[in-house]
Symmetry: C2
Subunit: 220 residues, 2 copies
DNA sequence: CCTCTTTCGTTGTAAAAACAACATACTTGT
DNA sequence: ACAAGTATGTTGTTTTTACAACGAAAGAGG
């Protein structure tokens, strides 16, 4: 566990805290580690969760899968990122999505109720953590709205342009790498993979973009 | 302003606080009132906001409008509900959507930075407000994910079923009234109104639903 | 009560997406 | 290096959606 302190130090949740404070907090929050293999489920839809999780290493997808096998990737989680905060509040109900490891991953579990109750060991930094948590959730919120912005586009091409534009401005470069393969990008945008592949080709023919694998360049 | 205290008492933000405490907080947070006519904009996309707003009366839509005149209703706001919390954090960037009054409405503005800094008048309940804020944001988060669930459905029929099912279970009744007219529902689900109307008829013919205006009944 | 405006349903057509099927390229493990 | 499995691109067909146009119904205001 201690080996992940350097990672934790740079997470949104523990921003502004020293190593000693983090160590104390981990105790307060009854931190637990668990590892997952590629393709393994961290959570199934319908499960009840009262922990807040931080990804220590690897890569996760939060996704909604339907009866017919269609997936929709709600969000990707990179090391240092948090997930499940939206379920930390009491009366949050069951989880609405699946959480899956897309690579070998290690997850840190923190007891959520410890965050809202002042702990015995007099952690004065609790309020800072709550504030950090709030900021993180607020950022996630804005990201969800961004994604809704892509999904609300009517055509596949518009969805792609919306997503690629955002990614370009987020990475502040006209050439950038996206964290998806084709199937995953299609799942993320909720479109058919082959149709999307086709549309990408047309967009390239129309001189809007060039690409190779997951590296895209927006033209003009 | 004082006339809205009873409303505020039952908001998520001020849950658990007495009237006196709310009154003190309103002072702390430099509360301001403003009224809007039907169709008037509360915020335009691109604006910077550092306030948290509570709707005192009326009805609002948070929506994304594109260049070609398509709207996408991200969320509807009812009296007592809060909006803009996702922009309360510093470095939140500009607002991504428009906020529009769909009826005559009154909005309360609260200075966000007052919430995170301890105030001079020693409001001990600040931490409770922060916690309330967190819970509210977390619920909004889950609602956004729900909406993403509808939008990720491939066909109009599936989108409708997804939305109507949720609304039915949320209102805990097989017959229920939705807060949209046809155009608004179409905007909410990001589909064409006439095509949606058509699909609704087919669904009725197929014995899945009945409806009249905004009152729907799920069959079986 | 009448007129003007908005909402809702209906239809036909053109465009787009889903789907299925397959070829090719690329990975991974052995 | 090989084989098996996975990812990507391509194409044709079927289904669905967007769009446009219009008439009927409902509502608002004088």
């Amino acid at each position: 566990m201690d080996s992940f302190i350097p990672v934790l130090k740079h997470t949104q949740l523990f921003r502004g805290l020293g190593e000693g404070e983090i160590l104390a907090l981990l105790k307060c929050l009854d931190a637990k580690l668990r590892s997952y293999g590629k393709g393994e489920y961290i959570f199934h839809k319908g499960q009840f969760v009262r922990d807040i999780m931080v990804l220590a290493e690897g890569k996760l997808h939060i996704q909604k899968d339907d009866y017919w096998g269609n997936s929709n990737i709600i969000q990707t989680i990179a090391p240092g990122e948090m997930f499940g905060e939206a379920y930390a509040a009491p009366n949050s109900g069951a989880m609405l999505n699946n959480v899956i490891a897309v690579e070998e991953s290690t997850v840190i579990f923190l007891d959520a109720k410890g965050i809202f109750t002042t702990c015995s060991s007099a952690c004065a930094f609790h309020s800072l953590v709550v504030q950090n948590l709030f900021f993180a959730l607020s950022e996630k919120n804005r990201r969800l709205v961004q994604k809704l912005g892509h999904m609300s586009q009517r055509s596949t091409r518009e969805k792609l342009m919306s997503y690629l534009s955002e990614e370009s401005s987020r990475q502040n470069a006209s050439t950038f790498v996206i964290p998806f393969n084709r199937q995953q990008l299609a799942d993320f945008l909720s479109v058919d993979r082959s149709a999307m592949s086709n549309e990408l080709r047309k967009m390239r023919e129309d001189g809007l973009i060039t690409y190779e694998k997951s590296r895209f360049t927006l033209i003009l």
